[in-house]
Assembly symmetry: C2
Homo-oligomer: 211 residues x 2
Amino acid sequence: MRPVPAATPEPAPKPRRGRPGHDQATVLRTAIDLFNAKGYDATSIADLAKELGLSKSSIFHHVDSKEALLSAALDEALDALSAAIDRALDEHAGDEVDALTRLRGTVAESVRILAAHLPAVTLLLRVRGNSEVEQQALARRRRIDERLATLVRAAVAEGSLRDDVDPDLASRLLFGTVNSLVEWYRPDGPLDGDALARAVTSVVLDGLVPR
Amino acid sequence: MRPVPAATPEPAPKPRRGRPGHDQATVLRTAIDLFNAKGYDATSIADLAKELGLSKSSIFHHVDSKEALLSAALDEALDALSAAIDRALDEHAGDEVDALTRLRGTVAESVRILAAHLPAVTLLLRVRGNSEVEQQALARRRRIDERLATLVRAAVAEGSLRDDVDPDLASRLLFGTVNSLVEWYRPDGPLDGDALARAVTSVVLDGLVPR
DNA sequence: CCTACCGATCGGTAGG
DNA sequence: CCTACCGATCGGTAGG
């Protein structure tokens, strides 16, 4: 996407000449859906144009490049996930709250973000580092994963998670389960984001076998 | 791939003239690794040729098409997974074995297959139905998932899994966790397939919080 | 917002 | 006549 100009005190957005057209946000949402349905590489700008009812060239009136669409989508997911973890951790900062409670809150908040930004998060989880943009997204994602792993280690250290499972293995299984939600969860189904967050947190921490 | 001729009682494999060359299996393994690293669509036959030190044309001496490579890889994964479930279920067929035990065995066996056929299973789990080959693979995968879901429903029905979690949700979380292993598990790491299978089965059924 | 194009590269095949 | 492979190029389509 073009850099959105900083919010100067602009008057009302000038109605552009020509057809009403599509704004950047519409193009981006449609692109993310196509990228998820067919894969980024298998999606051509022509596919996107057809989906929007535009010509291929008109797409480039709204966006600078195909990769800029990818970059904007990945930023949306990463910004939302980072903010969610900040929120979940700050909520109990300095308190007498144990690590397990902080972990529960962080898992639940991650699931809610995944549900709320499902298309962007889905795309993020499929990135393989095929370009500079993808590699930077992977680096940001690793930083997030490391914060979560630190939290899991703290919970093991305080004795509230099993000590017969390696903490890093526990982290991977925990957030592997969360991430696997993008493969089947649909927000228009019977489960809303909150119910999903509660169910996932409970199953992954307490297990499927009744206690 | 070309159909491999049925195993007739051949003598020793005749040393072929010409350069030692690469056989179909080598080409397939290399292709799967590239497909996983870069994505199927982003991998060109030229990439594969370069990796093998061959010309692009020589690839087509060994395989009929790029898609035939994909098809062979997906069949490897699907055949192995189907066989594993047959094995895990037949092992206790008709016995007095409860559904939870059969489920434990099936989860463990699925993890072992995932570890043993990691590249092919990784590729399978990334298929999005972009072609006839991919759609048929997805259909086979759905049939496997349905067998697993039936097993989970039986375990809930007999009372050995929590009844406050929907059985289909439980299935999705269970096998979502298993499938997420392809994102990080490496067979040359500290965990072998058996140890991974034990750890995953235990965490996913008993939970991370100590009992 | 479109038609008309570009340099390059795609999967696959030719003859030898 | 074979297997194994090559340099060159096919008709079409990619992102821009």
